[in-house]
Structures are given as C-alpha cells and as structure tokens.
Amino acid sequence: MIRLKNIFKYYSNKFLKTYVLQDIDLDVQQGEFLTIMGPSGSGKSTLLHIIGMLDEPNDGEYNFVDQPVHKLTEKQRSELHKNYIGFVFQSYHLIDELTVYENLETPLLYQKVKAAERKSMIADILDRFQVVAKKDLFPSQLSGGQQQLVGIARAVIVSPKLILADEPTGNLNSAQGEEIMTLFKKLNSEGTTIIQVTHSEKNASYGNRTIHLMDGRIAREER
C-alpha cells in the first residue's frame, strides 16, 4: 500500500542543512498496524506527515496505492488523501466553532456526499462511537477523551483505508488512552491500515509492527 524509497527531508538554513529524515525506506502492507517510535526530534511526526501528504519530502520516491505521490499535483494529492486517509491528532484538532455533529459532517462536505446520505452516515457513526447524546455540544464542552473519540469518529466516518494517528493518547489519562487504543485495534481488525506515532511501549503493543527512528533514520524494526 505504501512504499517509501530513499526519502530525505531537511531544512536548509543558509549553507547549513538540518536533516530530519535521511534515506528512509519503508513498505507498509494493507491491513498492517504500524507503530513509529523514537525520541523527540527523531522525525516521527515528519514521517507521518509525509505519509499523510501534509508535507513533502525533499528527495525520494513515495508510492501510495501504486500512485507516485511525488509526481502528482497538489490537487491530485489532495484528492488521494481525501479518499484514503484519516488523521487523528494528539490535541484532537476539532473545529472549535462547530458542534460534534458539524465536525463529523465537515469531511463529508468536502467529499461532496449528499445531504440524506450524510445524515445517515453521521447517525451511524454517532451510534457506533456512543456519542449520540453529545452531538450538539461544542468541543470545549467535552472531556479530552470524548474529544479524541469524536476526532477518531471524524477520521473514520469517510471509511479511510489508512488512519494516521499522531500520539493519539498523548493528552489522555491511561483509562481513556486504553479505550482509544482498543478502538484502533478493533478498526484494524476490520481491515483499516493504521500507522501511529507514540512514545508508549504499551500503545505499541497494540500494533503488529514497530519501527524505531533515531536521528532521522530507521534504527531498528520489530515485528
């Protein structure tokens, strides 16, 4: 599904290049649950953003479902990303001005889903995540765990093939974190490919493969 080849990412400052990612080669198969680990500044998030097409590598090749992402236009990339990828963030990133319902609706709007269909899809996901009672509340009226639940629901609603999660439990207490991870496990077992970035060994244990980054390189890999 994902094939990264010789990926480099650096920031140049006058004559000095600071490498964030160096020569990354990575293949991810459909249905995998991959964990990216590593100390702060090792390039985890950058790698995730490149996979999620939020960021571009300076060098290297990236193939996503057999399409050469590095050769696509921004519009094509945006189309690809819209149809295949769901994102989950450490700080949830719900839109503050919108209610739970409207937050869930937003990605459907960008996908131009019809109104009636939208309604049923949102009803369905609210039900599945057991947040029906919260649908008219604003993000600020929810607990962190609840917000992340909505965040995941919003990522899942478009039935993405791939979910990218950037420290999804980083701001949650352990009970909430466990709940979220169980949810990921369940989604994975239903066939969604998941890539998560985490510091937590425990979270990593939910996955079936872990890569460790160090100074922008893959230091080791566990299965």
Binding site: S45, T46, H49, G52, L54, D55, E74, K75, S78, E79, H81, K82, F87, F89, H93, L94, I95, D96, E97, L98, E102, E105, T106, P107, L109, Y110, Q111, K112, R154, V158
Partner: protein
C-alpha cells in the same frame, strides 16, 4: 457546504466581537462616505439632464477682452435674441430669460381683501414662451403661449398654493415690486432641485419693457439676462459660434472701442460644470471638484479595505489551526479560498446594511451643509442599488482575496503544530506598507483641511481696507431725494446709530458695476475701464476708508467730483496719489469732473479677485442701499429703530436687513462647504486609519508575545516594551507623512490659485498634521501596547 461555512463564519464573528465590530464599523464608515459622495456626484451630474432636447440646447455667452485680461459673462444685450432669430432662421428656437434678483416684493390683490405681501428672494424671471418648447418644465394649467403677452405671469404649484391656497389661481392678480400688475395665466409643476433654472414666478419677457430698461442698446450685457438656443439636428455648436462675430459686427454699432467682445456658444450640458461662467442657480460645480470628491470617496473605501486586510491577516494566527484541520479533512485550496471570501462577503453585507443606516441618519445633515438636495431611494433608483452591489463586490474582492490567499496557503503540517506563522501570516512588510498608505491618505486630508481652514480664516480676518464691523445694510426701495434725506435724518436720531451712508453698494459687494471712462489730457481723451461706486460723502466715514491724498468729495445729488483708489491712480500712469489730484475724468458723455481725493485700496469684491481701479462719486439716482453703522452694544435698539423708520419710509415693502459681515461671509460659501465636507471626511479617514492601526498593533503584539516575554524575563520594563512598539509606528507615520506632504502641498497650492489673495502655506500646517497624527496614533497604539507590556511573562512563555 455553504451552510457549514456560514455557521463557522457567524460563530466566528460572534465569538470575536471586537474584531467583527472594528471590521464592520470601519468598512461601514468607508462605504457610508463613498455612498454619500456617490449620491452627491450623481446629483451634480444630473443637473438639467432630464430635458429631452438637452443635447441640442446651448447658451450664448460673452467674453470681454480687455487690457487687464478676459472676463467671462453669461449675459447678452436685450436685442440679441430677436436679432438672432431674424438672422438665423434655421435655429429651431431662441429664448431669452432675465432672472432678476432685485425684484421680489409680491402683493396679492384679491378683490376687496386687504393686500397680502410676500418677499421672494429668488425665482423671479422674465421669460419668453419659446423657452418651454426647448426645456422640459411641464405646465399643469394654462399654456406657455400666454407668456407672449405683456403682464402675464405663471406660477409654480408651490407659489400658487402659497398665494392662493385652495383656490384656482388662474386669472388672479398679483403686483410685482409695486410696479407691475400681473395676471396669473398658468401653473407649472415645481421645478426640480437639480436644475440650474430655479424659477418660481415666471413673468412674460415682453413685460420688461414696462420697467424702463434699455431694450435697444447693444452696449451692455447683464450676467442674468441670458439667451438660450435650440439648434436643429444638423447644426453644431461650433458652427453657430463661428458665425457670431460677423453677426455682432453687424448689430453692435454703438461700441465705444474699449471693449472687445466675443460671443461663445456653451452647450447646456457644460453649464453646470463651468465655473468661469455661472448659472441662475449659483450652484455651478467644477469638474475638478467632482473629481476631487470622487477621489476622496475612492480613498476612503481603500483605507477601509486596507483595514480589513490588516485585521484579517492579523487574525491568521488564530485561524491557522482551523485551516490545518480543514485541509487534513480534505478541503482543497479553492474551497478554502471560497470559504474565506464568503466570510468577507458576510462582513461586507453587514457593513453595507450598517452604512445604509448611517446614511439614513446623516445624509440630511451632509445635504444641509452642502446646500444640496440629496436623498437616497434604494428601491426607486437602480443606480444606487448597482453602486452598493459594485462596492460590495469590489470590497469583498479587494479585502477578502489577499487574506483568503494567505490563509488558504498555510501548510497543514506547520499550521497544526501551531508553529507560529510569522512567515505564513502574510508579509509584515506588506501590512506596514498598507498602514503607510492609510496614513498617507489621512494626512493628506488633514493637510488639505488645515489649509482650507487657514484660507477661510484669512478671508474672515484679512484687512479689507475698510471697517466692516457693526454695519447693517438695508435696501432703498425708492430714489426720491426727499424721502432718502428724511430716512437718513430719522435714522440718525437714535443714539444707537452712529452713521448712515447711502450708496450703490456696500464697500465689499457682490454687485459690481464697470464702465469705461475717459481721462482728459489737454484736448485728447484717453480711454480706460473702472469699477463705479456711487456713494454719498458719508461713505468714507461710515466705512473708515483712508484718504491718501486730497479730500473726500462734497455732498451733492449728481456727479460733481471724483475720489479714486490707488489702482486707478496707477491706471492713469501716476506714481503718487498726489499727482492724480486735479485730473479731469468723464464718462457717459457728461462734462469732465476733477479728482479731489485718493483712497487707499479697499476690496470692492471678494478676495477671489484683485482690487480693480475704482471711481467714486456722488450720484443720488443710483443709490440702492443704505449702510448703517450701529453701536454694537445696542444692536437690538438700533435694529428696531431701523425697521420702524424703514417701514415708515417705504410703507409698501417688506423690511429686510443684513449685517455686512454675513454678506461678506457669503462670498466664501462654496469654500466653507468644501471645508466642512473635508473636515468630516478627514476625521473619518483618521478614524478608519486608527482602526487599522489597532489591528496591526494587535497582530504585532500577538506575534511578539514570546519576544516580549523573553525581554521581560531579561529585565525590560513596561516602558521599554512600549518604546519597542512606538518606534515602529513612529517610523511608519513619518514615511506616510513624507508621501502625503508633497502631494497635499501641490494639490492645495493648485486650489489656492483660485484666489488672488491667499495664504502662504507655512510649516505650521505640516507640523500640526504630524503632531495630530502622532497623538491619535499614539493613543491607539499605546493602549494595546500597554496591555502587552503588562502581561505576565510566565503567561506569555507558557505556550512556547
């Protein structure tokens, strides 16, 4: 999708109330001003454009070419019209109109009822019936043809209702100035306000004969006796004009050789905009003024838009997260641009509605200041709707596009990390540039306002060469010498009245009377032109005129001796006033009389014009006005006394008086209006500019939170932080000033050229401008900067 945007937009707006308020209010102010200016310009351009034959209508003007330069006159001699009709049979219609301001006493004679008197200040015209075949001024009752007969009069609805309430006015009698008995033969629809023909009481032209005017002479033109022509389809204005010299040559046989006269043909469509000539309405507005107003309107909209851009991009940091999230959720750039443009549109629509409300509140005041009949018909007038639509679209595009571009261009990865968007938040340089433009506009307007105010002040305080204080003028309704002498003696009986002088006009007057005269040099006569000022001997004392040589002339009923001014001495070619004493002058074929005195130059007319040579003499039959010097402490008693005596002297008239001060102030009415208008708009430009400045400083404060925190941790005081901000803005204002000052200087110098007597633009104006801007901007920046400076550094650094 649209609903989702709208919800976010409305919630965002209601959440950031201050931001929304500043934005909407700033924009609304800009739109209000430009809307008002639009209405004003539209009104000015609408003058007399409603006549079906407007494109073929014209007026014949006169230019006098004299040694001292050309002078433009709207008048033609009495026989001009008839001769034109005779010699140019191809002309469709020719009509003369004599708009006479000096007549105005209307007596209603209705059977046995006691006569009722009214005074009509303006609107009385002697007019030929063909006028109504040329211009579209509809008659409600009666027929224009009746104006072919003498002593017929037509009234507008307004006057008909006033004189004969709820009666049929046709066939009723009115008396004009106790001289003419007229019969009402028609009623016209009220003339609209946007015409240069503000007629109310229209007397048949032929009636003029009964007033003893010189109907046969080609010698004189009077600016209010005008000739209008309707050309046939195939004749151009130029063609007619080119044939007029020969025509004039043929008829003007009694010329005295001093004046060279040229007749010009002025299309009706140019009359309202040509300040060299003028119009019956006195409302002529130059194209330059209209362009200036349009520019001011445009600049105000630009400042308001700049504001919007500044505030919106300043908000970018707050919105970066939303942009990031939306991009992650699949929004493409176009969708986001549309989203943010939509937001701008929402704000613009709000602003337009607020502007309409503001317009409703203030338009009548502005119209009053300008003396123009402005009104807003949103639904009756499609051009206003179009204007608002265009403004709305232009503002949304101008002010929404850049912020939308900046916001939608955020890279989601960075935006979501809340990495401060210093680089992404739109170049600070650009925003600084915009603030400079705003302040340059404000400062240019301030400089303009100050210069106009200074010139107005100069008008009020300039030494006119005579004492204008505490002088009341009243008209003389009768030339009977005995009555006038009684009037004078009776007036002087009251202690509150210091002096009384009878004369053709007051020392400074809108009425000027020029004539040619001869200087007797042995047997030879040398011709010159001078202003005439007939006045009794008390004139000098009443106005405090200074004699430079010789003495004031002695009291006499006819022309016996002359006093001249310095300019005339120079015209005669003498170096010193003393040399002119004893010289003999003559005019109107009368025997030559000596110059007995020379007065220091005084301003005969407004300060727009230079002091011309002036010839003063006694001549009772041309006294039109009494100038009465009163004791100002006792003004009430004086005025009561004047009214009593005047009413006793001229029993069949309506008493009216005027302070000379007010008369003189009226010379500068147009400038006064412009000054008022500029004051308002300069104020608004500053206000909008300050709103923008507030936006910018808020943005900088937000952006530099960390820097300020670090500085404070390192020991900077609140004062140091304030200095940090102040330095920045002081620089911007200075740059803006360097832009604005020369532009305003040259533009205003151009305006000052209109006046022969004018101020020198000094450093003071510029100093005041910069001080004002600094104070206002300082107050704006200070408040926001202070808040930053007083923030607890721990708080500022927490999120980093």
């Amino acid at each position: 999708m649209f609903k989702n945007y709208l919800t976010t937009t409305l919630r965002k707006l209601s959440r950031n109330k201050a931001y929304t308020a500043i934005n909407v209010f700033g924009l609304a102010l800009g739109i209000t001003c430009s809307l008002m200016l639009f209405l004003l310009i539209k009104y000015e351009l609408s003058f007399d454009n409603f006549h079906a034959k407007a494109a073929r209508l014209c007026r014949v003007n006169t230019i006098y070419v004299r040694a001292e330069g050309e002078s433009h006159d709207t008048g033609t001699p009495f026989p001009f019209g008839p001769a034109l009709r005779k010699d140019f049979p191809e002309l469709e219609k020719v009509a003369m109109a004599d708009f006479d301001e000096s007549y105005g006493l209307i007596t209603i004679i209705d059977g046995d009822k006691a006569p009722v008197r009214y005074r009509e200040k303006e609107g009385i015209v002697f007019i030929e019936p063909d006028f109504f075949d040329m211009f579209d001024f509809p008659w409600i009752a009666g027929n224009p043809k009746t104006l072919a007969e003498p002593n017929n009069v037509a009234l507008t609805e307004e006057l008909a209702q006033k004189y004969f309430p709820n009666e049929n006015p046709i066939g009723k009698r009115i008396r004009l100035d106790n001289k003419l008995d007229l019969i009402v033969t028609g009623v016209l629809k009220n003339f609209p306000s946007n015409t240069d023909f503000p007629f109310k009481l229209l007397v048949s032209f032929i009636t003029v004969k009964d007033l003893g005017r010189e109907l046969e002479s080609w010698q004189n033109t009077m600016s209010l006796l005008q000739t209008y022509v309707l050309l046939p389809e195939n004749l151009s204005f130029k063609n007619l004009e080119s044939r007029l010299p020969a025509f004039l040559e043929k008829y003007w046989t009694d010329k005295d050789g001093v004046d060279k006269r040229i007749h010009t043909v002025q299309p009706l469509r140019e009359i309202h905009f040509d300040t060299r000539y003028g119009a019956f309405s006195g409302k002529v507005t130059s194209k330059a003024t209209i362009v200036a107003l349009a520019l001011i309107g445009f600049f105000l909209i630009v400042t308001a838009c700049i504001n919007f851009v500044n505030l919106a991009t300043a908000q970018a940091i707050d919105r970066s997260k939303e942009v990031g999230v939306r991009k992650v959720l699949g929004a493409n750039r176009m969708q986001l641009i549309r989203h943010f443009m939509g937001e701008t549109l929402a704000i613009t629509i709000l602003a337009v509605f607020l502007a309409l409300a503001l317009n409703e509140l203030f338009l009548s005041h502005v119209a009053k200041i300008l003396g123009r009949d402005l009104s807003l018909h949103l639904f009756g007038d499609t051009s206003v709707a179009w204007f608002l639509l265009m403004i709305g679209a232009a503002v949304s595009l101008l002010s929404g596009f850049y912020p939308a571009l900046v916001l939608s261009g955020f890279q989601p990865a960075l935006a979501l990390k809340s990495k401060n968007t210093t680089k992404q938040g739109g170049g600070l340089t650009l925003r600084r540039g915009l603030v400079i433009v705003q302040f340059a506009i404000s400062q240019a307007l301030i400089i303009g306002t100050l210069i106009i105010a200074a010139q107005m002040d100069y008008f009020r305080n300039k030494d006119l060469g005579f004492n204008k204080d505490a002088i009341v003028t009243v008209a003389l309704r009768n030339r009977d010498p005995l009555r006038l002498e009684t009037l004078r003696t009776q007036l002087l009986q009251n202690a509150a009245i210091k002096n009384v002088s009878l004369a053709y006009a007051s020392a400074s007057s809108g009425n000027s009377w020029s004539t040619s005269y001869h200087h007797k040099l042995g047997d030879h006569l040398e011709k010159h032109v001078a202003s005439l000022r007939f006045a009794d001997a008390r004139y000098f004392e009443t106005y405090g005129l200074q004699l430079l040589a010789g003495r004031a002339y002695a009291e006499c009923d006819t022309i016996k001796e002359f006093v001249v001014n310095e300019a005339l001495v120079r015209q005669l070619g003498f170096a010193s006033p003393q040399d002119a004493i004893g010289e003999y002058l003559t005019f109107w074929d009368a025997p030559a009389k000596p110059i007995v005195g020379v007065v220091k130059n005084f301003h005969l007319v407004s300060l727009h014009d230079e002091i011309k040579p002036c010839l003063m003499a006694t001549n009772q039959r041309d006294y039109r006005q009494a100038s009465i010097k009163i004791n100002f402490q006792d003004a009430k008693a004086a005025l009561q006394h004047i009214e009593k005596i005047w009413n006793a002297t001229f029993p069949e008239n309506v008493f009216e008086y005027k302070f000379l001060d007010d008369t003189i102030a009226e010379f500068y009415e147009d400038e006064e209006k412009m000054s008022q208008l500029l004051k308002i708009f300069a104020g608004i430009a500053i206000l909008i500019g300050c709103l923008g400045l507030f936006g910018l400083v808020s943005f900088m404060a937000a952006q530099r939170t960390k820097e300020i925190g670090v500085r404070k941790v390192l020991g900077a005081s609140a004062g140091d932080i304030l200095a940090l901000f102040s330095k920045e803005f002081a620089g911007l204002i200075l740059v803006a000033f360097l832009l604005a000052a020369p532009i305003a200087y040259f533009a205003m110098n151009d305006w000052l050229e209109n006046f022969v007597y004018r101020i020198n633009v000094g450093l003071g104006v510029f100093l005041s401008t910069i001080v004002v801007t600094f104070v206002v901007a300082g107050a704006t920046v200070g408040y926001r900067a202070m808040r930053s400076a007083l923030t607890n550094p721990a708080e500022a650094l927490r999120y980093e």
